[in-house]
Amino acid sequence: MGEKLKKQFDPAATLQEVESKFEMFQILNEEGKIVNEDAVPDLSDEELVELMTRMVFTRILDQRSISLNRQGRLGFYAPTAGQEASQLASHFALEKDDWILPGYRDVPQIVFHGLPLWKAFLFSRGHFVGNQIPEGVNVLPPQIIIGAQYVQAAGVALGIKKRGTADVAITYTGDGGSSQGDFYEGINFAGAFKAPAIFIVQNNQFAISTPRDVQTSAKTIAQKGIAAGIPSVLVDGMDPLAVYVATRDARERAVKGEGPSLIETMCYRYGPHTMSGDDPTRYRTTDIDNEWAAKDPIVRFRIYLEGKGLWDEQKETEVIERAKEEIKAAIKKADETPKQKVTDLISNMYEEKPYNLQEQYEIFEAKESK
């Protein structure tokens, strides 16, 4: 190939060049030191403390949820430990009227967006009241189908754009989810409509047991956004400041009418995929676990805040105790919710029952009143 032609047409070099642009964005390193002074967000002391409080709360919520699940007091549960920065620092960049379309691991974000914790517990138990979202809280129930929330986020974002409000739709999936067709359709539709959406891929390295490298030949997931023509970034998902800044910037672009963004957060889930029988020792080594534990988001943020005189052991103990109390109260409230009946489910199928459901309603009403 001649030199000129090679310059015009060298797909391998083009790929290399694109991939070389996706360096991981970091502000706070694993030792709790600022490595990117210019990028440090302008968060007040109160805001920094609040973000830390939410992360600590969520770590406790995770521990309690796992133990409640083992006692048979919770149902379906997908552990969150290790992903606190990725989940809560991205959420921290949102405004109240923004929409969240979560995956099933993204319960902390919707709780901090306004879904009462007792409802989150009812969702886990498989009770429909858990999914009755209070008026004015713009979140959806956690999505079970991998990637389905991505195409819906494009729709919500287009709706927001048509309404002309300064809100965004944010949605979350994982490294496995980025292999779904809906992943591409979602980012592509939102891009084509310049809709105010933020697409987050929490790359926690394993889709159940399948390692990230099996999902795609792409060096990063972030670069997939380039194919849809949308700004995309790879961030350290264990760094709350980097996640916050990437999401804040994506949000700013979105409300200015510049369309959607894709953010890949490099993170790790310490626990199993879900509490339904997954055993991570089958596919992960202790070495990998330890390597990621050393990057822990709470540890590094604690060091950072302690250095600023904003956090100490007493404060953390207070947060932990409060979390335990709130969790206890929420479980109690969940316990008090009346059991759901088949007649409830029949009534929730259509605005008006067709004849078949009307007949079945009467049958179950008789059974359930016995």
């Binding site: 009755q132 195409v151 729709g155 919500v156 359709e185 979602g186 489910l345 929730n348 259509y350």
Partner: protein, 325 residues
Amino acid sequence: MAQMTMIQAITDALRCELKDDENVLVFGEDVGVNGGVFRATEGLQNEFGEDRVFDTPLAESGIGGLAVGLSLTGYRPVPEIQFFGFVFEVMDSISGQLARYRYRTGNTFNMPVTIRSPFGGGVHTPEMHSDSLEGLMAQQPGLKVVIPSTPYDAKGLLISSIRDNDPVIFLEHLKLYRSVKGEVPEESYTIPLGKADVKREGKDLSIFAYGLMVHESLKAAEELEKEGYSVEVVDLRTVQPLDIETIIASVEKTNRAIVVQEAQKQAGIAANVVAEITERAILSLEAPVLRVAAPDTIYPFPQAENIWLPNYKDILETAKKVLTF
């Protein structure tokens, strides 16, 4: 009243609803400038603007996701799936999402979506353009499935579908788009979903049909009249939920019934109608309820289409078996 083809009646219904409710949005592949590949949305983008009537990228799952998301923000989406054979690409959005949102959220979210789509055989399309897949849709709790057979019904049923707060699959038979004309009022009107229509009254036999097969059934009924049989033809119009009252009343009157569908015989709408009749009116029956349907193969290659598709002669043959049982 104006004479309209079915496609004109459909465009007219869309126009009425776009005019009547600013939350109605019409979108899909090629529905904008091009007016849809069958011209169902002809002129609508010009009249209502690109914000209300718009083209999407070519991806059915994305279109389904848009419909869900737009509903969540208070819109009343009317997406088009260019051919219903492409529905497999959007099955999660339909069965996994649209049909379940009200249920999933404990009756707090509406999904007022009407998915319009052409289907049906006899026009020599390539593969996946002609399949009758209403049985698949009817299997999914949470959906309503509507199939008009005349221009008048098409307009009234489409307006009702759009106004319905639950998701509706609205299937338009390709061969009926321009082959039937009828009187259609210019003003807006509704025909309730879940209500069948007795297209021809009779007392010796009931024929239950929908879509193109209503017309084949009417033709068969005329032939049978020459032989002295009085045949009732009931157009189901909504195949899920069925209009059980009208179906049973007709069977109780005629005591004999056949069910006609263009789809393959296995499972499906006709089987459901037969089951409902036997569960509810077996003592009224003088003969078994038989079905006229296509053979249980994949939809045929175009050159075999005319033999494969049920027609009025097949209906005559089956009707006589039941009448002389």
